[in-house]
Symmetry: C2
Subunit: 188 residues, 2 copies
């Protein structure tokens, strides 16, 4: 039994100690920071089963419609993700002084047959609280997840985004490839 299976984290926290912002050196950061300490009084770590109480969903609602999710419903979704090995890397930033989640992003991993049974990563659901903008926390979260996907042997990592976000993701090394940059959707 791994540590994460007993300690309430969605994935093993020590994975984040094994990666560095320098593993994906596309962006220079203003101040001396690390992945696990992305700012003074801030901590980056895997989502925890207690984070409903720390405002994880309140923060997520700054991104899109979340709905009124009870703690039990949160636990049900959390437990489903945790029962799905090597797939959900939901990562949060907590303001330790307030005990509140102020940012989060997800690395979703996919096992493939193509590319020698390779693995593909996806960035999903990136949000940093309005109050904490301008501290490069979005870039740090994204750099951490790109580094993590490299560490987990992904052959590529991708995302879909609105037009206005393209310049931001380009600073992190994401490319909209010629003739191959289309995202299409059906909403039910």
């Amino acid at each position: 039994m791994t540590e994460a299976s007993t300690n309430g984290f969605l994935y093993e926290p020590s994975i984040l100690d094994k990666i560095k912002l320098e593993d994906w050196p596309k962006t220079e950061f203003k101040t001396a920071i690390s992945i696990t300490t992305p700012g003074e009084g801030l901590k980056m770590r895997p989502l925890h089963r207690d984070d409903h109480q720390k405002g994880f969903l309140t923060n997520l609602a700054q991104l899109t419609a979340v709905g009124d999710i009870s703690e039990k419903e949160f636990h049900d979704a959390f437990d489903k993700m945790k029962a799905t090995p090597n797939t959900y890397y939901v990562t949060v930033i907590e303001d330790l002084n307030k005990g509140v989640i102020i940012g989060s992003a997800t690395l979703l991993m996919e096992q493939k047959f193509i590319h020698n049974c390779g693995k593909r990563g996806r960035i999903e659901d990136v949000v940093v609280s309005d109050e904490y903008r301008g501290k490069q926390l979005g870039k740090i979260l994204l750099t951490a997840l790109v580094s993590l996907s490299k560490h987990l042997d992904c052959y590529k990592i991708s995302l879909d985004c609105r037009d206005q976000m393209i310049p931001f993701y380009e600073t992190l090394g994401f490319v909209k490839e010629p003739n191959n940059g289309n995202f299409m959707v059906i909403r039910f």
Copy 2:
């Protein structure tokens, strides 16, 4: 223990009996066909653990680089997917007379917290053998996976694609939304 856990299929085959092409009536099909019988002598079904021997990877190599994957490596990837509940719906079309896989596509399911702990589907790795073009098999595969994602309560289903494929996916109801149709990637 479900039937699929003992019978060698990646997911429960009876799910495909519960959906119909008419569940997603965007496309008219030329001849009388169904999801599980997409043409004479053809069978649509979940990927099976024995499909390495039926040319699943040979067919997949018409899409992109697959590599030289041994039967053991195929089984390892298959077993990882099968140990990941409610996520990998790799679906194939077999030519029953030849005992060969001639088409495949994947529905990848993602558990979310947003949208009331909703589920999102993705279409991945769609390929139909050159020899079987013109029989609407790509459209039937895609219609099946869109219907399946509805059946599994997804709030949306998406894909990324090359420019030349946009008209094809539009016939199935996929939309490149204004200001929100960008796909970006980092390849390692």
